[in-house]
């Protein structure tokens, strides 16, 4: 266990030394500072009476804006932003995790230690997940607390959305670990991971395409890919519902995506365990 923790710790330190995570942390801090000091909300009788951004009045158009709706809106906007930009940055920052570990002269040293290969691989996975988790926790919990203190509204939507974002990253990380161990290339890992986003969006709208297809096998392949690959679009919709405090229709897309991530991680671990270095 101590050795596994050492791998996790080593991975965290390695990631924190990267400029991308520093930029991520700076952006989070900036966002927190803006929400804390630049946004001023005057709440009267549960509604927003006045709002100022950087000291400038925001024209509300005479409308009565319920403060809990405003908080939900801010939380959803932030969740959507982190889901897109945060995931993009996290994938970019951690794509070289496995290729770096597999570099000649480093992998030999790691594999000569009294630590099983699955533990080493899993330690690397948990390390990356922890770094992204810390960053996410810092931003999401920070904004949630500041908004709560400023408005008195403590809606858990943003926290739930944070959990979904971390889970989505965990799914992609499993995929990146697999691609990394097969190809030993950071650039291919990044390219394939980013390619998953438009591909899964395309598959979400596959019904529009299948009406034009005549071959049954083509429809079968599209359907198969849809069910195998992560469902980023649907996860985004679940995230939105959770952030707004609305009921979530079905968690099946989330579960099947998690299964994809776990399958990729298992396949990567198996390959790493059997490979000669």
């Amino acid at each position: 266990m101590m050795k596994l923790l050492a791998v996790v710790d080593g991975t965290i330190r390695e990631s924190m030394a990267k400029f991308t995570f520093l930029a991520f942390a700076l952006m989070s801090t900036l966002m927190l500072l803006v929400v804390t000091f630049a946004v001023n909300l005057d709440v009267v009788d549960g509604a927003l009476a006045a709002a100022r951004l950087f000291g400038q009045d925001i024209h509300l158009g005479g409308q009565r804006i319920a403060i809990d709706e405003l908080v939900s809106g801010i939380q959803t906007g932030l969740a959507g932003f982190v889901f897109g930009v945060g995931l993009f940055l996290s994938i970019f920052a951690t794509a070289n995790l496995v290729p770096v570990m597999l570099e000649k002269g480093y992998v030999d040293l790691l594999l000569s230690k009294p630590l099983s290969r699955p533990a080493l691989f899993l330690g690397r996975y948990l390390g990356a997940l922890s770094v992204v988790g810390f960053n996410l926790l810092y931003l999401v919990v920070g904004v949630w607390v500041v908004l709560g203190v400023k408005t008195g509204i403590w809606k858990p939507g943003l926290l739930k959305a944070g959990g979904i974002i971390l889970l989505t990253y965990a799914i992609f990380l499993g995929f990146m670990m697999m691609v990394g161990v097969f190809t030993r290339s950071s650039s291919i890992t990044i390219m394939l991971s980013y390619f998953l986003f438009p591909l899964t969006l395309f598959l979400f709208f596959r019904d529009n395409l299948t009406v034009m297809l005549t071959h049954k096998w083509a429809i079968f392949i599209l359907d198969g890919l849809y069910w195998i690959l992560p469902k980023v679009h649907e996860i985004g919709m679940i995230l939105g519902s959770l952030a707004l405090g609305k009921p979530v229709g079905s968690l099946a897309p989330l579960l099947s995506s998690a299964l994809f991530g776990a399958g990729c991680l298992a396949l990567g671990t198996l390959y790493f365990t059997r490979k000669d270095y």
Binding site: K3, D9, P114
Partner: protein, 312 residues
């Protein structure tokens, strides 16, 4: 208990490379035994299979056939790796860490207990001459310094068997002497040391026994003197020797060459050597020294490899 720290029997390993999966035989039936506390050197040209053999012994690469044990346990046994230290060739460490950070991190990976890590790391960094640099990030280190750090990493958990792949690569002469001293200290502690090196002079000075590996096979194994011994060749220092005396020795069937007051004799037996010496003495020559002639390890290495290449 066999008393061997490393035991290898008929080990085979073939790699398949490229799209066409072309087989490359890296180890071709290697058998070897290294005693506990011995310093063993493995020599061979590039691609001979030296690194593959070490990787098999550490469980990094798996053999296709044969048996290998380290410290009485089959290779690949995960807990037994805690009793082995390894300095790979061209090793890389996380550049964002300091020298001490690297040693500490690998100590944790090796299972060293928390309270022991700090004192051990500092002691080892002092031994390898890096105390002044312990707080500096690795990206500032020279190649020789990284090599010394690698030795500290390999020793941090006080291993019983130490595998060193080109340990003095990139190290200056002073550093090499220091590394030799550390290896001697480890030998006195009872550590078994297995060294792969191209630097034959280093091997000659450090190792108790040596094996020469080529194309995955062991061509010769023995002590350095076994490998460098040229049989009954002697160098006799006898001042000025009259050509007639030299001719008389030659006439007796002993090949002899005279150069700068020295005679180089090749005799079939010690009796013939003494007969030659008697001839010299009776001719009034003053014999100052008689020494058996030896090749350097490098000469023997080249000769053994040459013999292997010319073998049908």
């Amino acid at each position: 208990m066999s008393g061997f720290a490393i035991e290898i029997q008929d080990l085979h390993k073939t790699f398949r490379v490229g799209w066409h999966r072309i087989p490359i035989r890296a180890l071709d039936g290697i058998s070897l035994a290294v005693s506990q506390g011995e310093v063993f050197g493995l020599l061979g040209p590039n691609g001979a299979g030296k690194t593959t053999l070490v990787k098999v012994l550490l469980g990094i690469t798996r053999p296709q056939a044969g048996r290998a044990e380290v410290l009485g346990l089959p290779v690949g046994n995960v807990p037994s790796r805690g009793r082995m230290g390894y300095l790979p060739e061209g090793h890389r460490y996380p550049l964002h860490l300091t020298g001490e950070g690297v040693v500490r991190w690998f100590a944790r990976l090796s299972g060293v207990r928390g309270a022991q890590i700090g004192p051990r790391a500092r002691r080892l960094l002092e031994r390898v001459g890096l105390t002044r640099w312990s707080g500096v990030r690795l990206r500032k280190y020279s190649k020789g310094m990284v090599q010394r750090l690698g030795l500290a990493v390999a020793l941090i958990h006080e291993p019983e068997v130490l595998f060193l792949d080109e340990p003095t690569d990139g190290v200056d002469p002073v550093g090499r002497a220091e590394i030799r001293k550390i290896l001697q200290e480890e030998k006195q502690r009872g550590t078994t040391i297995f060294i792969n090196s191209h630097l034959l002079s280093e091997i000659e000075r450090t190792c108790d026994r040596v094996a020469i590996l080529s194309q995955g096979r062991i061509l010769r194994c023995g002590t350095v003197s076994d490998l460098t011994d040229r049989g009954l060749d002697y160098r006799v220092e006898a001042g000025t020797v009259a050509p007639a005396v030299v001719e008389a020795i030659r006439a007796n069937g002993t090949p002899v060459e005279a150069t700068n007051g020295c005679l180089h004799l090749r005799v079939p037996s010690l009796e013939r050597l003494n007969a030659c010496l008697d001839s010299l003495r009776s001719a009034g020559c003053l014999i100052r020294q008689v020494t058996p002639e030896r090749s350097t390890l490098e000469e023997s290495f080249i000769q053994i490899l040459g013999e292997e290449e010319t073998r049908p």
